[in-house]
Structure formats: C-alpha cells, structure tokens
Amino acid sequence: MTDNVRTVVETTEKEPADKDVPRSLFSDAWRELKHRPMFWISLGMILFFVVMAAVPSLFTRGDPTEAILKLGSTPPSSSQWFGRDLQGYDIYTRTIYGARASILVGVFATLLTSAIGVVIGVIAAFYGGILDTIMMRITDIFFAIPFLLGGILFMSSFPNTKDSTYFAVVGKVVLVLSILGWPSIARLMRGSVLQVKPNDYVQAARALGASPWRVIRSHILPNAWAPVIVVSMINLGAFISAEASLSFLGIGLTYPAISWGVAISDALTYIRTAPWMLLFPSLFLSLAVLAFIMLGDVIRDAFDPKTR
C-alpha cells in the first residue's frame, strides 16, 4: 500500500502547489478522481437514483397504487410516458417509486456487509493465531454457500406475511444479502491488514505502547480499507441485482414494497404484446446497477493505479 502511495505522488508531481503538502491516500485518490468524467457521470446517476428513492414525489405526481384497469396494458403516450401495466398502474410512477427499495437494499446491505467484514477481517489479521484460524474457517463456511441458492432458501423458509411492514420486507432482504455477502469483505480486509501490519510505523506505534485499539484505528485502518471501499461499491450494484433476482422469483420484496424485480417478473409473460411493461423497469435496474459498478471501477483505478 505504501508503494502505491508513492506511485500516485510521482504521477501527480506536475502540480507544484501541492508538492509540499503531506497527502493521505484519500486526498490522492480524490485528486485523481476529479479529473475523470466517468466518476462524475456515475456519481450524477447515483445522486439521481438516491434523490428518486428519497423523494419520489419530485419526479411524479402520480399515485403508484392507483390502478386504472380500463387503461391496462396501454402503450406509452404523452399522458403516460412509460405506458401502463397489466393492472393499469402507471409504469413511470411505479418505476420511480421502485427505486427506493432497490437503493435501500443496496446501501444497507453494503453497509452491513462492510461492517461485519471489516470487524472480522481486522480482528483475524491483527490478532492472528488460533483466533485467525477459527474466524477464517467460519468465513469459509459462509463463503461456500452459493449466493442465490442461499437467498432462495432463506427467503422461502421465512416468507413475508400479509402484516409485514415495508421495512420488515426490505429489512429481510438486506439481512439475507448481508449474511451471505460479508465473507468476501472479511477476506479482503484480512489480507489488506496483513499487508499493513509489518510496516515500520505500526511496529513503532506498538513499541511506544499504543493500545491495540489505537494501533488499529490510527495506523492500520486508514491504510488498509481502500480495497474494501472499492469492492463494496461494486458489490452495491451486485446487491441491487440480487434483490431483483429474488423479487423476480417472487420471494424477495413483496407487497407493500414496489420493486423493479417484481415488475420485471410480472411483465415477462407479456413481452410479445406489451414490451414497455418489461423495458422500463429493466432499464432503470440496469442503469442503477451500472452506475454503482462504474463508480466502483473508477474508484479502484484511483486507489490502485497499478491495476489500470
């Protein structure tokens, strides 16, 4: 990691104003990122989806639960931009409101997996020995569970009931994705910490009698968590698509949540007669996943130029 920092410094030497200012890994990455158009495009898209999730009423005045059956399956027009689905719901409104579930699932699953993964990874790598062995074997066990199969098993074992609230429905999907998603982060974190641990400044801090907590917090973590941030960002997109897959199978998000995955599943039968029912939710899902994966990509490039 320290080597990488030096590389970044060398490549950015052209700007003499910053030459003597000591820079952290993150400020280096930032200097790199702000010149990349891809970063701004993906960030813009993400911002767009986040605003859509937070305040859908900014984008549409429609009511996502209002079904006008008489207009069911009518194609897009000026009064209904994306057309209507089988039940007569306005697809534009439904698609806007569907962002919330996907973003919530993506963000919270990422936060939770990162939290679990970082804690396990740091403890295992920092203390080593028997603790490391036990923790890594547990990680291996979870790692061995196929992601989608595990999700299907969990969701069909604990189905939603009619009284489930919005947050219970979403929370359950977050939980299952987190249970199955943390091992990769834990492994990554462990590897990263093992790389940082032998460095002189860590040894120095220990020699000066710093507590383990202080060593981890001030010396190890800031230098070890770049890979986790990169992978988490890419995972966020993967979680959104995993949620859509589970919802598509009818076991992920259910009523009262409005979800792109459910909309895609419902529309599949009518692909020949009403393709717009399938097109728009799929398009939004793809864009959202793409935005997070693109952002992950540029961030990785910034943190780790060698892989470019």
Binding site: L69, S73, L86, Q87, G88, Y255, T269, R272, T273
Partner: protein, 550 residues
C-alpha cells in the same frame, strides 16, 4: 378433498354415428368434413400423479388417458354434456332411490373377457373400500351402505384400517341380479344418478384388476374403451393404439394416440406451431395476451365454456363475523368490475358469472344473481354505507402456486376504487396450506374458490357447495329453505321438475350471497394443421372420437 386446482377428467368420446356420416358439427374447427381413418395423432400430455387406477385418478394428466381406454355406463355428449348410454342398455328407476341397470351384451375388455354386471359391482366396492383409501371414494357416498365402508379413526384422528377395520367391505346398496343386470340403492333420493355414472371412477374393472389390488393395472390399464393402452415411457410419452375389438358406438379415427409429456406449455405451444404436436388443451398466457394465438394459429383455435365456476368466498362466522353482513357482501360483489378484469387481465378466457351454476349444464338459468353481480359503483357504495363500512384492511387470499395473482390484485383494486377501503390480495404459498386454513375455519378475510364439476348436472354446482354441512361448503353457509329445495329436487322423478327446484334453490342464494360469483371458465385450445374436426367437451378435453388426420 374436492379442491379447485383439482381438475376432473371425464369422458371424451363422442357421437360416432354423426361423425361417421361425415356431418360432425365441428364447431369452430373451420372444417365440417370428417377426415380419414388411421394415422397417429399426438396430444399434449402431462405426468400423471398416480398409477392409472380409475379411483385414484382425479387430475387430467392421467384422466385424459384413462378416458380413452375405459368405457363407462354412460358417456357425455361432447356438445351438450347430456349423458348417453354407452355400456348401459337402460337405467331405470321409479322412485329415484332404487335403480336397475341393464348392460349391453358384447362389450369386451381389452384382455378378451366380457364386461358383466359383477365387473361394475366389484369395481365400485373396491373403489369405496376404506382400506383402499381411494381419492375418488366420495363419488360412491350416495350408495346405501357407504358409511359402513369407512375405517374407524385411529390415534391421529385419521382413518386407521388395522386397528379399526371398516364394518363392511361391500356396499349393501349394490346387487348383481344376473350377468347383465345389477341394482343400485341409494341412501337418499337422487334424481341425477344416471348423470353421475359417466365419471372415470364408475368404470367397470376386469377380474385381473383384483388379483393384485390394481398394481399391474396401474401400469397398464385395461378397459372396454376405444383405445388400448400400449406403453408409458416415464417423462416422455404415453402411447395408445386402437382397440380392434371395440364394439361401442364411440370409436376414434386415428390408429394411434400419443400423449407427449411436456413440463412447459410454452414448449408445447411452439411444437403445435411447428407441427410437432397436434392437440394442445391449454394455450400459454403469453400467447393468450392480446389474442396472439389467433394469429399464430389461424382457424386452428377454439374457445369454449367448460364446467368450472370461480368465486370469492367469505370466511366462516367463527373466523370473522363482520362478513356475515349481507349488505357488505352485496357491496363487495357490486364493487367488482368483472367485465374489465376479464378483458384486461384474463385475456377474455372467462365469462362473467350471472349466477352460481355453470352454463354448460342442463338446467342452467341465466341471471340468478341479478343486479348483485353487476358492477355498479354507486349502488356498491350505498350498500357499503348501509352495512356500516369495514374497519381495517380487506384481504383476498389466493394460492400462489396457481395463476391467481393478477386477477386477485385487480379485484382488490376494483374494490378499493369503488368502496374506498384498503384491500390486499395475499398469497398463500401452497394449495394444501390454503385449503387447510379454509377447512379448519381459520382463514380470515375473503379467499378465492373454484369448482370444477364432477358430473354435468345443476345439482353438482349447488348441493356440495352450499348445502348445510356439505363437503365443500367453504363459507359455512346454512339456509334451511335452500336445503329443503335441494331435497325436493332430489326426489323429483321428472328431470324438468328437478331442474326447476334446483333453479329455485339457486335463486335463494342471491339474497344471502354465500360466495361472490366471479366468472365461468372457458377452455382455449389450439391444434396443428395436420388434424381436422377438433371438438372440445364441456370438461375442456378433446373429443378423441371426432378428431382425425386431414
């Protein structure tokens, strides 16, 4: 259990005399000429649930095959569903309680033995015998002595035949008079017994069946029907060949019938388009949407009403007393826009119900439900206000393994729109769970129900569903006047009087609304360009005696 995803397969043979004369009515087939004899016809099949034992076959996968192999006392006219004598020469009764059945001579099982009276009596005794535990044993319940055939309940309350054997192993109401005559005595008066005798479970069984309790029969059934069972290749096909010794009136044209087994209707549909499959009994939803199948299979499709009635039932009073309010029931019924739902969601595969009896049966009278089954937002709201509204969320449960999600959601949206009350369609994963909750009376809120007729009679749409304590009375409905009318109808010796009584009974349902009538099902079928004269029975199956190669 008589359920709703259960489908009952019944006779598929047809009036051969008509067809032989080359003037088959060929409704909708686009061709009125009878085609040539011989050749092979392939039919969409599916994996039978059980071995081919008539009393254990209550779904169409095995039932369609058995119906081509077996002959019964009567068979149903493919156009009118009226019973016509097949093996029976005459079915006589004076009091609707003792029936004398005379058989035609010369009918032979495919193993060469002749069909005699004892083949019926032995078969029915075996089918009803408690220790055989057959799925269709309830068909024999009206016969005297049937109660003595049940095993006593064991420790787990299920019938236990080792600890508590049944009192009798023969139905006391069945008596062989001579080789070609036997009598049936029923416990109560039954005016429509002859109509019931065309069901698969009433088929005669050869003596060889009883040698090993139906084990070898289950793999290779033997009947007196127009086709002989040749072989069953598990998971791929079931092959039948023409019965050379068939002496009945309803033979088929093709020399060979092959039921090709598909797990996916989409694949079967593509095969019909490509000419790889001749007859398909259910068009997949993707092709129904926007009537695509009509352009995919021009002049090779048909949509015909079948004996299935769909409804929305109310919870029993013990589960939720709110729904006992009749105004609330009427309000909910009038709040449902049946026509639009059928058009938009169900691709016109249903006909809006105007009563509780399917139009395919004799005695059907339109409009029994009157204005209560017509969509009227204003009237619905008025009745809803009169009922005092509904506190909370109305739920409509459905079994998620059937294709019910879209229409239940549409019904709820319609109710929401008309009455301004929240309504949620709630899935219950498994059909068995769904039925368990209904039967135990723990189902809260409304739930979907459906009824496929066992035999084509107006009685079958009323007595088992709304009679006090009847087997499939899911809403726990009880009305002494209704029960009285049913008893009167069962005692009527003249079919017209019986039908009139049943119609009067049905009319009583409108005021109480035990279930909300939704729609009658239709069968939408398609066929390849190789076959002609395709007809569909009121049971939604193909008339295999009519169809032939071009």
């Amino acid at each position: 259990m008589r359920g709703t995803t259960r489908t009952v397969a019944v006779a598929v043979m047809s009036a051969a005399a008509l067809l032989a004369a080359g003037c088959g009515s060929g409704s909708g087939s686009g061709s009125t000429t009878a085609g040539k004899d011989g050749g092979e016809i392939t039919i969409h099949g599916c994996t039978p649930e059980n071995p081919f034992v008539p009393a254990n076959t209550n779904e169409t996968c095995g039932g369609n095959v058995l119906d081509a192999v077996l002959a019964k006392l009567v068979h149903y006219n493919p156009d009118t569903a009226a019973p016509e004598n097949d093996i029976a020469d005459a079915i006589e009764t004076k009091d609707n309680q003792t029936f004398t059945i005379k058989l035609k001579k010369g009918y032979k099982f495919q193993d060469g033995t002749e069909v005699k009276a004892h083949n019926f009596v032995d078969a029915w005794n075996w089918n009803r015998d408690g220790k055989n535990g057959t799925l269709n044993s309830y068909f024999f319940d009206p016969i005297e002595g049937s109660a003595d055939m049940d095993c006593g309940p064991g420790a787990d309350k299920k019938p236990d035949c080792t600890a508590h054997p049944a009192k009798a192993s023969k139905l006391s109401g069945l008596k062989v008079v001579d080789d070609y005559t036997f009598t049936i005595k029923t416990t109560e008066k039954v005016s429509n017994l002859p109509v019931r005798l065309g069901y698969t479970a009433f088929a005669p069984l050869p003596d060889s069946f009883f040698a090993d309790g139906g084990k070898s029969f289950g793999t290779k059934p033997i009947g007196a029907g127009p086709y002989t069972f040749e072989k069953y290749d598990q998971g791929s096909q079931i092959a039948l060949v023409k019965n050379k010794d068939y002496s009945g009136k309803f033979p088929g044209h093709a020399d060979k019938l092959t039921f090709k087994i598909y797990t996916d209707t989409e694949a079967a549909y593509k095969d019909v388009q490509a000419g790889q499959l001749d007859l398909l009994d259910s068009i997949p939803t993707s092709a129904l949407a926007g009537d695509k199948y009509k352009t995919d299979l021009p002049d090779r499709n048909l949509n015909k009403p079948v004996g299935v009635f769909q409804s929305i039932a109310f919870p029993k009073a013990t589960a939720d007393p709110t729904y006992q309010n009749k105004d609330l029931r009427h309000a909910l019924s009038m709040a449902i826009d049946r026509d639009t739902i059928i058009k938009q969601v169900l691709n016109n595969t249903k006909k809006p119900a105007t009563g509780w009896v399917s139009p395919v049966v004799d005695g059907y009278k339109a409009g029994a439900c009157g204005d209560y089954c017509k969509y009227d937002k204003a009237k619905a709201k008025e009745a809803f206000t009169k009922a005092g509204g509904y506190n909370g969320t109305i739920t409509l449960s459905y079994n998620a393994n059937g294709d019910h999600k879209a229409w239940t959601e549409a019904v709820c949206n319609s109710i929401k729109d008309a009455l301004g009350v929240t309504c949620v369609a709630t899935p219950i994963a498994e059909f068995s769970d769904f039925r368990k909750q209904i039967n135990s009376g723990t189902m809260k809120g409304m739930f979907r129900t459906g009824w496929q007729m066992d035999y084509p009679s107006i009685e079958n749409f009323l007595a088992p569903l709304y009679g006090t304590g009847a087997g499939s009375n899911d809403s726990g409905y009880s009305n002494p006047d209704f029960d009285k009318k049913l008893t009167e109808a069962a005692a009527a010796t003249d079919p017209a009087t019986a039908n009139k009584d049943y119609q009067d009974a049905e009319a009583l349902l409108a005021a109480d609304m035990p279930v909300i009538p939704m729609w009658y099902s239709t069968a939408t079928v398609g066929w390849s360009d190789k076959v002609t004269n395709v007809k569909v029975t009121p049971f939604g199956t193909f008339d295999l005696s009519a169809v032939s190669l071009k």
